[in-house]
Symmetry: C2
Subunit: 301 residues, 2 copies
C-alpha cells in the first residue's frame, strides 16, 4: 500500500525536483503537483515533465494533497506555510526537507495551527541547484531524519517514514534539537569551513587566483565543491541553526588552535597521532556505504 | 628524444610507484630501478612488476642512474640524500616529489654537495598509500611545479621539465619560497583543516561517532578523504613548511572569526555575498580541467 496518493511539492529546486522524480520512479501511480515561487522555475519544471501538474499558486498546489512537502530555503518555510494555510486539506500531512528542524517546526506550527506537521530531512544533495539538477536516485542509500514533534500522530509519522523508505532512503527519527546538533557537525560546520577557506584563498595578494585554481588538486578543490552550494539555502541554515553552529565552531577553533601550537612548537607526535586517528573514520564511512571506496571519490584520471 | 634513459626511484609508495608506472607507460625503453627503506614494500613492489629492478640499498639503486627521484616523506630527504651520496654518478640529476621545496633543497644541498639538484612537485595524489595505490595516469593533466635553485644548469632544468611533460603533467617553474606559499594555500591548509574537523567530529559526547558516520553525506564525508592521507608525509609537510602554513592559518582564522560574528549577529547579507563569490572559483577549476564537472565529484548514486 502506498503511504500517500497525492503529493504536493512546494519549491522545485535540486531537492524538490529530486523528490518528484523519485516519487515518479518508485510510486508511479501517485499524482504529483508542484509549485515554485519563481515563475521561470515553474516553467522549466513544467518543461522537464517530472510533475503531473504545475500549479499557479502555492494554495492551488495543495488543495487536494494528502502529503505536502516544503522544499524551500529554511528562512522561507513560515511564509510558504502561511501561503498554503487557507487551502490545506484538514487531513493532509505537512512535511519538509530543511536542514534546521527546530526553527522549521516553530515556523510551521505558527503558520499552520492545527495542521499535522511531521518534519523530515533527507541528508543528501549535490553542489548544483535548480530543477535541472535533480535526479531520482539522489536519496538511494542515504539517511533521512524524521523529527516528529512531541505528541505527533504515530500513524502520520509511520506514513512519512514509509514514504522516504520508498524513495530509497534509510530513516532514523530523533527530536529536532538533537538533529540540529548532529547536522551542525556533519553538515553545517563543514560547509562553513569550506566557504571560509575558499574565500581566504581567493583574497590573497601573494598568491594569484590563477595559481589557486591551477594547483587546486593539492586538496583545495575538494572544498570548492560544497562551497559552490546554494547561497540562499546556506545563509538560512546558518542563521536558523545559529546556536549549534556557533558551539561546533568554537570546538573546531579550539582544536585548530591546538594543532597550530603543535606546528609552531614542532610537536610531530601530536600531529601524527591525530592524522592516524582520522583515517579510521573514513574507513567506517566507506564500510557503511556512505561514500565511494574508489580513490579520489572515483574522479576520472 | 627521451630526457633520461635510466631512472631510479627511491621510495615506492603512492607517488613513487605512480612515477614508475607512468614512466613504463610513456617511455617503455627507460630502465627503472627502485628502492624503498621498508623491505616489505620492496617485496610488494617487486611482485607488482612496475620496476625493471628492485635494489637492496639506496646506493645500489642509483649507481648507474641519470635521474634519481626521491619519493620519500619530506623529513627523510636529507637522510636518503646521505645514503646515496657515495654511489651517485657525477652527471646524474637528483629530483624529488616533496611538498615543501625550500626545506628539501637545503637538505639535499647539504647531503649532496656538488650534485645537480632540480626539485619538483607533482600536485597530484589520492588518499591511499603504498605501492598498490599507484597508477600510471595519476599525473595526467595535473600540474608539476619545478623549483630550480638559483644558478641551476638550464639543460638539467629542461630535462626535468620534459620528463614530467612526458608523464602527462603541465609544468610550471617558480622559486622554492613562492612554491611553499602557494602550496600552503592550495594543499597544506586544506589538509590541516580537514584533519582538524574530522578530529573535532570524532571527539564529541553529545553526537555519537555512529551518527557522524551515518549522516556524513551532509558534507562531512568530503573532508574525510584528505584526512585519510598518509600521516607521516603530512606530519613532515607541516613541520617543514611551518612559516607559510602558520601564516595561511592565521588568515583563515581571521576570516572564520568574521563569519562567526556574522552568524552571531544575524548578518545574512555578508554570508550571502561570500557564498556567491565562492561559487565562481569552482566554475574556474572545472573550466580549467582541474576537477570533474559531474555533480558530487561524479560519485555514483
Amino acid at each position: 500500500m502506498l503511504p500517500f496518493a497525492r503529493v504536493s511539492i512546494i519549491g522545485l529546486g535540486l531537492i524538490g525536483s529530486s523528490v518528484a522524480r523519485a516519487v515518479r520512479a518508485t510510486m508511479p501511480t501517485v499524482r504529483i503537483t508542484g509549485y515554485d515561487g519563481d515563475a521561470d522555475v515553474r516553467a522549466r519544471a513544467d518543461a522537464l515533465e517530472f510533475l503531473d501538474d504545475v500549479a499557479d499558486t502555492a494554495g492551488a498546489a495543495v488543495i487536494d494533497a494528502d502529503l505536502v512537502i516544503l522544499c524551500v530555503p529554511v528562512g522561507a518555510m513560515g511564509a510558504v506555510g502561511a501561503e498554503i494555510a487557507a487551502d490545506l486539506p484538514a487531513d493532509a500531512i505537512v512535511s519538509d526537507v530543511g536542514s534546521s528542524k527546530e526553527t522549521i517546526l516553530n515556523a510551521l506550527t505558527a503558520a499552520l495551527p492545527g495542521a499535522t506537521i511531521i518534519p523530515a530531512h533527507p541528508v543528501a544533495g549535490t553542489e548544483n541547484s535548480g530543477p535541472e539538477a535533480g535526479f531520482a536516485t539522489l536519496f538511494n542509500g542515504r539517511w533521512c531524519i524524521v523529527t516528529p514533534p512531541e505528541g505527533a500522530d504515530p500513524t502520520a509519522v509511520e506514513r512519512v517514514i514509509a514514504f522516504w523508505q520508498r524513495l530509497g532512503a534509510n530513516v532514523e527519527t530523533m527530536d529536532a534539537k538533537h538533529h540540529d546538533l548532529v547536522l551542525a557537525v556533519t553538515s553545517h560546520l563543514p560547509h562553513l569551513i569550506a566557504y571560509t577557506i575558499v574565500g581566504t584563498a581567493s583574497d590573497m595578494e601573494e598568491v594569484t587566483r590563477s595559481e589557486v585554481i591551477k594547483f587546486s588538486a593539492g586538496g583545495f578543490r575538494d572544498f570548492t565543491r560544497i562551497a559552490a552550494s546554494d547561497p540562499t539555502m546556506w545563509r538560512d541554515v546558518f542563521l536558523t541553526n545559529k546556536d549549534a553552529v556557533l558551539e561546533m565552531l568554537q570546538r573546531f577553533s579550539e582544536d585548530l588552535t591546538a594543532l597550530q601550537r603543535a606546528i609552531r612548537w614542532g610537536d610531530g607526535d601530536q600531529l601524527f597521532d591525530l592524522f592516524t586517528r582520522t583515517r579510521a573514520i573514513r574507513r567506517s564511512i566507506i564500510e557503511q556505504g556512505q561514500d565511494d571506496a574508489a580513490p579520489d571519490f572515483g574522479r576520472s584520471h
